[in-house]
Symmetry: C2
Subunit: 333 residues, 2 copies
DNA sequence: TCGGCTAAGGCGAACGTTCACACTCTCGAT
DNA sequence: ATCGAGAGTGTGAACGTTCGCCTTAGCCGA
């Protein structure tokens, strides 16, 4: 295996010392223009590329961030991941990504250790599930950590940032209230996920604000099948006039139960989802839902992290989701 | 900022040379048990963690792979990414991930350069879109590259591996043929994506094998809306008895057009999708579709890459997708 | 003539590892 | 007693950078 050219190789070829090459390639301070050009030409010619590992060793700055993502293929987390990576790249950082298939403390600790060995300068945790905050607290970590976890609060060890899903849930519920619905059921997501808890809370809060009683919560587990089953049960028990479902996928499963029974949406019942998945406009009828701005979340997340790295003040006010009104909701009869 | 403890710190604390510490932490060959334990205790105590960058520098092995992923949030690529990362991790590698929002040559070259600076030992490119192979060929690259791109062929510079989506398309089509359908339309995905081309090809091939004429292809762009529009057109022109849609999302859009028109599936028309997205079981009726085994693809992809790194022979026969029969297909009248 | 300034570039050390050796014991065998 | 083997441990160099400091040459002014 051929060794890649190093500074010294370039230096030899250009007839200068390797420090001069370093100078040319970095700041370029105090180098004769002719030398500069020659060095650059040689570097280009040899296909020289800096060894970032060596650089990290001596500068003690790896220009690397670690990202821990939930391996669940749910739409939201995945989009966030892509956005975070892009933001990191734009800031001149590389992202080392690792996934947690189930959010076990061990997995998280393993990830932190690995990142530590790579000398990352900061860590982003995309952790929509339960008790990640406690875990992080348990690992002594020496770099800034940004936790993307709805409803958590910042601690000494880490900064929390999130999209205001509680607000999202309130927007969804408010929309139904404003359409005149009085009985608004919530089909909740798994309460092991923070998203699930927060969306439930938002629904409750908005009902309270509207002086409406909260019907019994139906608990699903994010799966379409769980929502389908609940749909069947509700059909048997009698449908409410409106329902706020904690995710689009669950909404779809719920709709399936309705189709089967010949119930018409939104004539017989109004349905609101959450996520604005790619398929939400394609359901029948197209689904009214809540859109999170993952791109913005990713960007701001990196902004916050780099702010922490550089010690500049950061703004962690939550990102704001938006209600997307399509055809699955209508005024109460 | 406090420096992290190094081998030397541990050595000093344990009263041995840093060399001995290194031995303990690596192979552990020929170290007195008492020393071993003492060193381990001290290391644990100090929270020592190896600096992988320094290690990479001297061993010339970074234990790092680079992954280039298409930033499109399509289900398939995303699942593949997660699987690749997990396989890399299991093999003791870290994954540096970067995404390409649009598969421009510049983006790819940038990614290769960045990886080169990080001294990755291998690169995985998850590139379902068009001409990535040419791009890679243009960049002089010194490490093994595995290209996850259906229908490409291996070159000097890189090894191609993929799931046999053409076979998948044939399975889907064959299923319809076996149900007695004679007029099987294909609603194709964007032909700028290799997946789109390959699925189209599989449909054609199977029709030919069955001695059936191929009706005019309808071209969509992966979006549900494009499929919806095509659905409306087909409704106007007269529906075929069966249709093979190039993706589940498009199938959903197509179904929407049918619902609107009051057409019943599968009674009036059989529909097969592709991908087995998470929502496929939740459509109404649940969608017959083709499932790709992303997990296996990811694993084998890493296997191949590491095989190339270590110079052991690799098996690149394509992974095999599976037909998942649900309720959107039935025998021809 | 000399001192001093500046621009250009070289020298050596350091970062935290691993690797190839070399050294020092303690045995048991000769 | 001497030798050799092997277990246990230390030494020095190297990896490719950056950084602080030093050297050299050229120039200007006194």
């Amino acid at each position: 295996m051929l060794r890649r050219p190093s500074l010294k190789d370039v230096a030899r070829e250009a007839g200068v010392s390797f420090q001069t090459v370093s100078r040319v390639l970095n700041g370029g301070s105090r180098v004769a223009e002719s030398t500069r050009l020659r060095v650059l030409a040689v570097a280009e010619d040899l296909g020289y590329r800096r060894n970032d590992n060596a650089r990290a060793l001596v500068t003690n700055r790896s220009r690397t961030v670690g990202v821990i993502a939930d391996a669940s293929p749910r739409y939201g987390p995945v989009s966030t991941l892509a956005a975070v990576e892009k933001a990191a790249r734009d800031a001149g950082y590389n992202a080392i990504v690792t996934t947690m298939s189930n959010p076990s403390p061990d997995d998280a600790i393993r990830a932190f250790h690995e990142f530590s060995k790579r000398a990352v300068e900061g860590i982003v945790v995309i952790a929509p599930r339960m008790p990640i905050a406690d875990v992080i607290q348990a690992v002594p970590v020496t770099v800034p950590v940004v936790l993307l976890a709805p409803g958590e609060t910042s601690h000494d060890g880490f900064t929390v940032f999130f999209e205001d899903q509680e607000l999202g849930a309130r927007l969804a519920t408010r929309h139904l209230v404003e359409l005149g619905h009085r009985e608004i059921v919530h089909l909740a997501g798994s309460q092991e996920w923070l998203d699930g808890q927060v969306r439930l809370r938002g629904w409750q809060a908005e009902l309270t604000a509207a002086n409406l009683a909260a019907p019994a919560v139906r608990y699903g587990d994010w799966s379409g099948d769980s929502a389908y089953a609940i749909g069947r049960r509700l059909l048997a028990e009698g449908l409410p006039s409106a329902i706020f479902v904690a995710s689009d996928l669950m909404a779809l499963g719920f709709l399936r139960a309705l189709y089967e029974a010949g119930v018409s949406v939104p004539r017989d019942i109004s349905v609101v989802g959450f996520d604005d998945n790619e398929f939400a406009p394609q359901t029948f009828p197209p689904l009214t839902t809540v859109r999170q701005s993952f791109g913005i979340v990713g960007e701001r997340c990196m902004e916050i992290l780099l702010g922490l790295v550089q010690g500049t003040p950061v703004d962690v006010t939550p990102a704001v989701p938006k209600l997307v009104i399509r055809d699955s909701t209508t005024a109460a009869r």
